[in-house]
C-alpha cells in the first residue's frame, strides 16, 4: 500500500509537470523527434526475475477483465510515430529494405562453427530441449532442438520470426540454424546441471542423452538446432509489459503505453506469437555511445505460426489459457457451442503446425495470456502496426520464410502464403477502421496533399469527399483562428485563404472524409505545419485524441468471445 501511494504521488507529479509545461509551446523546435534521448546512465540497474506463474495468473485473472484506459501511446512523437529508442529501431515502412536484408535480419557474418560443441549448461527456459554451448570458435550459443513430433518446426519458426520481428524494428537475438553432432561434443569440465533435487552437479554424457531423447534426430545421427548468440552486455532479466523499471532513468513511459509493445498484439496476430510473456523478453545493460543504457529484446519467438509443442493446444491463438466467456459457453452447452478453432480447416505440415489465413481475424486473435500492453492497444496503435505489417512485400515475406530451411518446399510455400493472407487480413481490419489519412504535405503554395492508406491498399473505396478545416495556430497558447474550409474529392486541396508566411508560424488542418461505409473517417486527423525557410514542415499529427476511459475503445475488438 505504501509503495502504491508513493508511486501515485509520483504519477500525480508527472501529471502536474505536464500541466505546467503545457503552459509552454505545443511544439518544440526539434519536433518531431526521431529518437528518444535516453541520455542518463542506467548502470545501477540490477538483474530482476519475473515469476512465470504469477505473471500468467495476473494476466489471466486481473488483466483479462481490465477495460482499456484509452490513453494515447506515451512514447509517440508529435506526428504519431514511434521514435527510435532502446526498444525499437524503425526499419520496415521507414527505411527501404531489400528481401535479402529482411532475410539477413540482425545476423552478422559470424555463423556458428558446429565442428565441435563444448557444453556449458542445460537450457533452463522454454519447452524445447537444448543446451548452452561454445562452438569450435569458442563463441557461446544457446542451442535448442525440435520436438520429435514436429521436426524443423521450432528451429524454423525461431529463425523466421526473428527476421520478421527484426524488420518490424525490435531488438532481436542473432539466430542461425546449425547442426549438432553428438559425436563431436565435449563437456566443459566446469559444466553443471541443476537436478530435480535442486543440486547442481557435473554435466555428464547421460545428460546429453537425456536432452537429445526429446529432440528430432536426423537420419545421419545429427540434430538440427537453432543457435542464438549470447547477447553483449550484462543480462538483467526480462522486461514487464506494464509499469517502468524503477532503476532505469530512461524508462519514463509505462510499458503498457509504449506503442511498440501495444503493437505486438497486431504483430503477434500476424505471426501467431501466442507465448507473449515477460519470460520471452530480455533486458541487457550495454555501453552505447559512451552511455550505459538498458536495451530491450524480444527473444524465443519460436512459439509463432502454428507450433504445437504440447498437448491439447488446438486453441492457441483463439483463446487465452483460461477464457471466461468461452468456458461459460461450452459449460452451458456441453461443448456444442463450437469455437472456430474446432472447425477451421488447416493444411497441416509438421514443420509449420496449425496456421491458416482464410479464417484469420486479427481483431479476435488472442495470445495465451493477456499482458497489459495487449489490453491497451488503441485503434491508432493498431493502425500504426498495420502499416508496418502491410509494408512487407510478398518477396520480403518469402525471403524471411526461406531462412527457416524447411526440407519440404510445400511447407515453406504454405507458410509464406499464409503470412501473406494474414498480412492482408490485418490491413483490411485495421487500416479502414479509423481515418486513414497519411503522409500529409503542405506546399508553399498552400496546396495540401495526403494519401488514404486504406484506399491505397484497396481495402476501402475512396470516400465521397475529403474535408479540410484550416486554422492559424498559436503555438504558445494553443489558440486557433479559422482560415476556412476546403473540400475535395481527391487527396489534394488548396488552402481556402491566405496562410501565414512568417517563419515559425503554424497552421492547423483537420482532415476528415465522408464515407458511408466508414463513418469513423469523419473523425478528423489533426495536423500541424510549421513555416520554415524551406516551406511548410509537418510537426503534428493526431489520428485519435485521448479519450476518457469510459468511452468505448475505438479499436476493433472482439465484442464477444470467438
Amino acid at each position: 500500500m505504501r509503495r502504491h501511494l508513493a508511486m501515485s504521488a509520483v504519477v500525480i507529479a508527472v501529471a502536474l509537470a505536464a500541466a505546467v509545461t503545457a503552459a509552454g509551446p505545443t511544439f518544440y523546435v526539434d519536433d518531431p523527434i526521431a529518437r528518444e534521448p535516453e541520455r542518463k546512465s542506467a548502470a545501477k540497474a540490477k538483474p530482476l526475475g519475473i515469476d512465470l506463474f504469477f505473471e500468467y495468473s495476473f494476466n489471466l485473472f486481473v488483466n483479462a477483465s481490465k477495460k482499456p484506459s484509452n490513453r494515447r501511446a506515451g512514447n509517440i512523437n508529435t506526428v504519431d510515430e514511434v521514435p527510435d529508442s532502446s526498444w525499437l529501431v524503425n526499419r520496415i515502412g521507414s527505411t527501404p529494405l531489400t528481401p535479402e536484408q529482411v532475410a539477413r535480419g540482425v545476423n552478422s557474418d559470424t555463423v556458428p562453427s558446429p565442428e565441435k560443441w563444448t557444453l556449458l549448461r542445460e537450457k533452463s527456459a522454454g519447452t524445447n530441449p537444448g543446451f548452452t554451448a561454445k562452438d569450435a570458435n569458442g563463441e557461446t550459443w544457446f542451442l535448442q532442438f525440435d520436438s520429435p513430433d514436429f521436426p524443423e518446426a521450432s528451429t524454423g519458426g525461431v529463425e523466421i520470426a526473428t527476421k520478421l520481428f527484426w524488420a518490424l524494428g525490435y531488438n532481436m537475438v542473432e539466430t542461425f540454424i546449425t547442426k549438432f553432432d553428438p559425436a563431436r561434443v565435449e563437456i566443459d569440465p566446469k559444466a553443471t546441471v541443476k537436478r530435480p533435487s535442486g543440486a547442481r552437479t557435473p554435466f555428464t554424457r547421460d545428460d546429453i542423452d537425456r536432452v537429445l531423447e526429446r529432440a528430432a534426430r536426423n537420419a545421419d545421427g545429427t540434430y538440427r538446432a537453432s543457435a542464438g548468440r549470447l547477447l553483449p552486455g550484462k543480462v538483467l532479466g526480462p522486461f514487464r509489459y506494464s509499469g517502468t523499471r524503477s532503476d532505469d532513468p530512461n524508462d519514463l513511459v509505462p510499458h503498457q503505453d509504449r506503442r511498440e509493445l501495444r503493437a505486438l498484439r497486431v504483430f503477434g496476430a500476424w505471426t501467431n506469437l501466442v507465448d507473449w510473456k515477460a519470460g520471452n523478453t530480455l533486458d541487457t545493460l550495454v555501453e552505447e555511445d559512451g552511455r550505459t543504457v538498458i536495451k530491450h529484446y524480444l527473444q524465443d519467438v519460436g512459439s509463432s505460426f502454428g507450433m504445437a509443442n504440447n498437448l491439447h493446444e488446438w486453441d492457441m491463438g483463439w483463446e487465452y489459457y483460461y477464457d471466461g466467456p468461452a468456458t461459460k459457453r461450452r459449460f452451458l452447452t456441453y461443448g456444442f457451442a463450437l469455437s472456430p478453432w474446432q472447425t477451421v480447416p488447416y493444411t497441416e505440415y509438421s514443420s509449420v503446425g496449425l496456421f491458416e489465413g482464410d479464417r484469420f481475424n486479427p481483431t479476435v486473435w488472442k495470445p495465451q495470456t493477456p499482458v497489459l500492453a495487449y489490453i491497451e492497444l488503441r485503434a491508432d496503435d493498431a493502425f500504426w502496426a498495420a502499416r508496418k505489417v502491410m509494408a512487407f512485400t510478398d518477396e520480403q515475406i518469402r525471403a524471411a520464410v526461406h531462412t527457416g530451411q524447411y526440407s519440404d518446399p510445400a511447407a515453406e510455400a504454405h507458410l509464406a502464403a499464409v503470412l501473406i493472407k494474414r498480412r492482408d487480413a490485418i490491413g483490411r481490419a485495421y487500416l479502414p477502421a479509423i481515418n486513414p489519412i497519411v503522409n500529409p504535405s503542405l506546399g508553399a503554395d498552400g496546396r495540401l496533399t495526403f494519401e488514404n492508406a486504406a484506399v491505397a491498399a484497396r481495402f476501402a473505396e475512396p470516400p465521397a469527399a475529403y474535408r479540410a478545416a484550416w486554422a492559424r495556430f498559436d503555438n504558445a497558447t494553443g489558440a486557433t483562428t479559422s482560415i476556412g474550409r476546403s473540400d475535395s474529392t481527391t487527396t489534394s486541396t488548396m488552402a481556402p485563404g491566405a496562410l501565414p508566411d512568417s517563419s515559425g508560424s503554424y497552421v492547423q488542418i483537420d482532415i476528415s472524409a465522408d464515407s458511408t461505409a466508414h463513418p469513423t473517417w469523419q473523425q478528423p486527423v489533426r495536423t500541424h505545419f510549421r513555416r520554415t525557410a524551406d516551406g511548410w514542415k509537418l510537426v503534428g499529427l493526431e489520428r485519435l485524441p485521448d479519450a476518457p476511459p469510459s468511452t468505448p475503445n475505438p479499436a476493433p475488438r472482439a465484442t464477444k468471445d470467438q
Binding site: 523546435v29 530482476l48 524503477s246 498437448l311
Partner: protein, 398 residues
C-alpha cells in the same frame, strides 16, 4: 519509500517549472529533464510482495525444496473423506523417498514410506519400493454374488503390513510396456467398528471362506501391455490394452490363488478434442490353487469411486468380475472437463457366467479439474438403482 517519492515529486515539478520559464526549450530537453528527475530518485527494481511470495513458492517447487505435501489417499476404498500429509526428500539427483500418512473420520489409517527411482535404464523404467501399514475399519460386505440385497450389508475390518517393489519398463520408450511386482503382506481380517453389523455376527468361517483369516501372502504379478496414452493422469487420446497375471502364495498354503486381469481402454477425440469418447473394459478372473480357498476379502469386487460409481464401495463380490464403462467427455477449457458417464458391472462364480448374470448399472455427470497430464480433482454425481452417490477423487477415472 515516501521520502524517495517526495524527492522525485519535487524534482519533477521543479524541472517542469524551470522548463516552462525557459525560452523555446526542445523536446529532447524536456525528456532529458524528466530522465534527470528520475535519475535523482532511482531505486532498485523489485517485485511486489505478492509476486515475491509466489516466486518463493515456485522456487521451492522447482528446486526440490518443497518437502511437505498433502496426501489424500485413504487406507482402502470406502474410508470416506481423508486428510493426510507427506514429506518428500530427494536422496540423489532424481530419486526420492516419501514418508506419508492419512486418516479418515471412520478410523482408516495409512502410514507408509516409498522410494521412487524414475529414471532407470536410460529413462525407460521406474522402480518403486513401498512399505507400510494400513487399517480399514468398516469395509463393506454384502454377500457373494451379483444379486445380493443392499440390506445384507455387513462390515469387516483389517490391518495390513506390506512391503513390495514394482519395476515398470517401456523397452522402446513408447507403447510396449512390461511391469513386475513383488509384495509381501499380511491381511489380518477381523471385526468391524462402527454402527453397521460386523461380519462375524452374520457369517461363520464355514459359511464365508476366509472369515477371520490372517494369511501372509507373497504376491507376484506381471503385466504386459500396449500403452499409447500421452499421460496416465489425464489424457484425451490413446489407449491401454494389457493383461496382468497374479500369483498369491499363502505362507500356510490355505488361501493361495491366481488371478488374471484384462484391461482395455480407449480415448477417442472428436472434433479436435471438443469431446472425447472414452471406454474401458476390465475383467478379473481368479483360479484357486489345489486344496486352497480364496478368502472372501480377496475376491474381485468394485471399489466404488472409479468403477460402479453410484454404488457403495465393494458392493459386489465373487470369484470373477466384469466392468464396462463409457464416458462422453466435453472439453470446457484447458483445466476443466465435464463427463456424462455410464457404468455397468457384475460378478460371477465362473468367467462364463459373467455374460449371463444380472448386472448393476449407473450413470451420472462429472467434473474434472485437470492439468495437461494430471487430474487433481474429480467430482462426480452418479445415479444407480440404489440412489445417488457423490464422489470426490484426486485421480483420473481411467
Amino acid at each position: 519509500m515516501f521520502r524517495r517519492a517526495a524527492v522525485m515529486v519535487f524534482a519533477v515539478l521543479a524541472h517542469a517549472t524551470a522548463l516552462a520559464a525557459q525560452d523555446a526549450p526542445s523536446r529532447e530537453r524536456v525528456i532529458e529533464e524528466a530522465e534527470q528527475a528520475k535519475f535523482e530518485a532511482l531505486k532498485p527494481a523489485a517485485p511486489g510482495k505478492a509476486e515475491a511470495y509466489v516466486a518463493r513458492i515456485s522456487d521451492m517447487f522447482l528446486s526440490g525444496q518443497m518437502h511437505w505435501h498433502a496426501f489424500w489417499q485413504n487406507a482402502y476404498s470406502g474410508g470416506g473423506f481423508t486428510i493426510g500429509a507427506g514429506y518428500t526428500r530427494y536422496v540423489s539427483s532424481y530419486n526420492w523417498i516419501d514418508v506419508r500418512g492419512s486418516i479418515t473420520p471412520s478410523g482408516y489409517k495409512r502410514l507408509e514410506a516409498q522410494f521412487f527411482a524414475p529414471d532407470l535404464f536410460k529413462r525407460r523404467g521406474t522402480l518403486s519400493v513401498l512399505g507400510g501399514w494400513r487399517e480399514a475399519t468398516q469395509v463393506n460386505f454384502f454377500g457373494i454374488g451379483a444379486t445380493t440385497p443392499q440390506e445384507n450389508r455387513t462390515n469387516f475390518g483389517f490391518t495390513q503390513p506390506y512391503l513390495g517393489a514394482t519395476l515398470e519398463v517401456f523397452p522402446t520408450r513408447k507403447l510396449f510396456m512390461v511391469r513386475g511386482d513383488v509384495e509381501v503382506s499380511q491381511w489380518n481380517q477381523g471385526p468391524a467398528s462402527g454402527s453397521v453389523t460386523s461380519i462375524e455376527q452374520v457369517y461363520t468361517p464355514q459359511t464365508l471362506p476366509g472369515l477371520g483369516a490372517s494369511p501372509i501372502y507373497l504376491h507376484t504379478q506381471a503385466t504386459v501391455g500396449i500403452d499409447s496414452r500421452p499421460a496416465r493422469g489425464y489424457t484425451r487420446r490413446g489407449g491401454f490394452y494389457g493383461v496382468t497375471i497374479h500369483d498369491y502364495t499363502d505362507n500356510d498354503n490355505l488361501y493361495g490363488f491366481n488371478q488374471v486381469d484384462y484391461t482395455a481402454l480407449q480415448h477417442i477425440p472428436i472434433l479436435r478434442e471438443a469431446w472425447v469418447l472414452a471406454f474401458r473394459a476390465f475383467a478379473q478372473t481368479t483360479y484357486d490353487k489345489s486344496g486352497q480357498t480364496i478368502p472372501f476379502f480377496m475376491m474381485p469386487s468394485f471399489s466404488g469411486g472409479s468403477d460402479l460409481r453410484a454404488y457403495a464401495s465393494w458392493r459386489l463380490r465373487d470369484l470373477n468380475s466384469l466392468l464396462l464403462q463409457g464416458e462422453w467427455r466435453a472439453n470446457i477449457n484447458r483445466f476443466l472437463e465435464m463427463a456424462l458417464f455410464y457404468d455397468t458391472g457384475t460378478v460371477a462364480p465362473t468367467p462364463g457366467d459373467l455374460w449371463h448374470t444380472s448386472s448393476k448399472a449407473d450413470y451420472g455427470l462429472g467434473f474434472r479439474f485437470h492439468g495437461p497430464i494430471t487430474t487433481p480433482l474429480r467430482i462426480e454425481l452418479a445415479k444407480g438403482s440404489e440412489g445417488f452417490v457423490l464422489n470426490f477423487s484426486a485421480s483420473q477415472v481411467f
